[in-house]
C-alpha cells in the first residue's frame, strides 16, 4: 500500500471497503496487509470500519455451514462453494461447528471446490477427535479433484467416503 493508496482509503469509501474486505478474506499480499495493519493501528476511522465489516462478515457467513441432524448423525454441508484451505473462512467455520459434542458426523464435501494440506489436516484432526470419543466421521460427495487428493494422500483408506447420502447414513448404523 503506497501513499496514494492511503489517501484513497479516506477519499474513496468503496476502495477502503474493498481493502478491508480483502484483508479480512486474507486476499492481500503480505506487504499490503502489513501496510494496512500499520495504517489501522494509527487510524481510528479505518479501524472502526474494519471492526464493523468483520462482525458483518461473521454474520453473513453464519449460514456458510449448514447443520442438520438425521436421527443421531450430524450432517455438515457448505451452503455455497467452499475452499478448505489454510486460513480460509470455511476451514475456520468447520473448526467452529466441530466444538460440538457429536460423535457421528457426516461431512458433505459436494460444494468443496478446493482443499489443501491444511484442509486435509483439519479433517484428519476431527476424525482423530471423533474416534477417540468412540465415534465416526465419514465423507460424502467429494468432487473428482478432492477424491483424487484423498486417494493420493491415502486418507480415503482411513476416512470412509460415500457418494450416496442414504448409504452413508445407513453405514453409521451398520458399523
Amino acid at each position: 500500500m503506497n501513499g496514494a493508496d492511503k489517501v484513497q482509503l479516506h477519499q474513496n469509501p468503496v476502495f477502503r471497503e474493498e481493502m478491508i474486505r480483502d484483508y479480512l478474506l486474507k486476499k492481500l499480499d503480505t506487504d499490503t496487509a502489513e501496510a494496512f495493519e500499520r495504517h489501522y493501528l494509527s487510524c481510528d476511522d479505518c479501524f472502526e470500519e474494519l471492526r464493523v465489516a468483520q462482525v458483518l462478515m461473521a454474520g453473513l457467513r453464519q449460514s456458510k455451514v449448514e447443520l442438520r441432524r438425521v436421527q443421531d448423525v450430524l450432517v455438515l454441508q457448505f451452503a455455497g462453494p467452499a475452499q478448505l484451505t489454510r486460513q480460509s473462512f470455511e476451514l475456520e467455520e468447520l473448526q467452529r461447528v466441530f466444538q460440538q459434542k457429536d460423535t457421528k458426523v457426516l461431512i458433505d464435501l459436494g460444494r468443496v471446490i478446493k482443499i489443501d494440506s491444511a484442509g486435509l489436516g483439519q479433517l484428519m484432526s476431527h476424525y482423530s477427535h471423533v474416534v477417540k470419543k468412540q465415534g465416526m466421521l465419514k465423507l460424502l460427495n467429494p468432487s473428482p479433484e478432492v477424491q483424487t487428493l484423498l486417494r493420493l494422500t491415502k486418507i480415503d483408506s482411513v476416512l470412509e467416503t460415500y457418494h450416496d447420502e442414504r448409504q452413508a447414513l445407513e453405514s453409521f448404523d451398520s458399523a
Binding site: 484483508y23 486474507k26 495493519e37 493501528l41 474494519l50 464493523v52 462482525v55 453464519q62 475456520e92 476431527h126
Partner: protein, 171 residues
C-alpha cells in the same frame, strides 16, 4: 514520548485484530501475544527507542510481528496437545462470548432486508466486483455506493444498539 492509558487500550484492541488475523480466531494464546507486544512496546518507550511519534504504529506493528513469529516457533517446538483435551484449535474460554455474539449477529441479520443481505453477501462474501454487482442488481455506480454503505450503516446501528442493550449494568 509518552502514551496515555486510553491510547494504550486502543492499541490493545487494534493489536487483537492483527494477532487474530495472523494466528486465527481460535488461537487460545492471542491475548498473551497482545500483552507481550504491549510490554515490549512500553519497555521501548521507557528506553526512548521511539524517536518519531509518527512511526509509532509501524514500530508497534513490527514488535507484534516479532512476537507472533516467536510464538509460532515455540508452537513448532512444543509437542502436540492431547487430542482428548479439546478439539483442534478450540478456545474454550471464548465459547460463551462467541455464542452470544453469534446470536446477536443472527438477530440483526434477520432484520436486514433481502436486498441488503444480497448486496452485502455479493460484496463481502462472494467477492464480486462492483461492476458485476451493479449489472446483476441493476444499479449505477453511485446507487451501488449508496446502497452498500446504507446497508452497512443499518447493520452498524443495529449492532451497536443491541450490544448497548446487552451490556452489563444496562438491564
Amino acid at each position: 514520548m509518552t502514551v496515555s492509558p486510553d491510547a494504550l487500550e486502543a492499541y490493545r484492541l487494534k493489536l487483537r485484530y492483527k494477532v487474530y488475523y495472523h494466528l486465527g480466531s481460535s488461537c487460545p494464546d492471542a491475548e498473551d501475544v497482545v500483552q507481550e507486544t504491549l510490554t515490549r512496546f512500553l519497555r521501548a518507550l521507557q528506553d526512548e527507542k521511539i524517536h518519531n511519534p509518527e512511526s509509532t504504529a509501524a514500530f508497534l506493528s513490527g514488535i507484534c510481528n516479532n512476537v507472533i513469529q516467536e510464538y509460532r516457533r515455540r508452537l513448532w517446538k512444543e509437542p502436540l496437545r492431547d487430542p482428548d483435551s479439546s478439539p483442534p484449535g478450540c478456545a474454550r474460554d471464548r465459547e460463551p462470548e462467541m455464542l452470544e455474539l453469534r446470536q446477536v449477529i443472527a438477530l440483526i441479520m434477520g432484520q436486514l432486508s433481502q436486498r441488503d443481505r444480497g448486496l452485502l453477501c455479493a460484496f463481502y462474501l462472494e467477492e464480486k466486483c462492483r461492476e458485476e454487482i451493479c449489472r446483476t442488481m441493476g444499479l449505477s455506480d453511485v446507487q451501488f455506493r449508496v446502497a452498500l454503505f446504507r446497508a452497512k450503516g443499518r447493520f452498524r446501528k443495529s449492532y451497536h444498539e443491541t450490544m448497548k442493550q446487552n451490556a452489563p449494568g444496562e438491564h
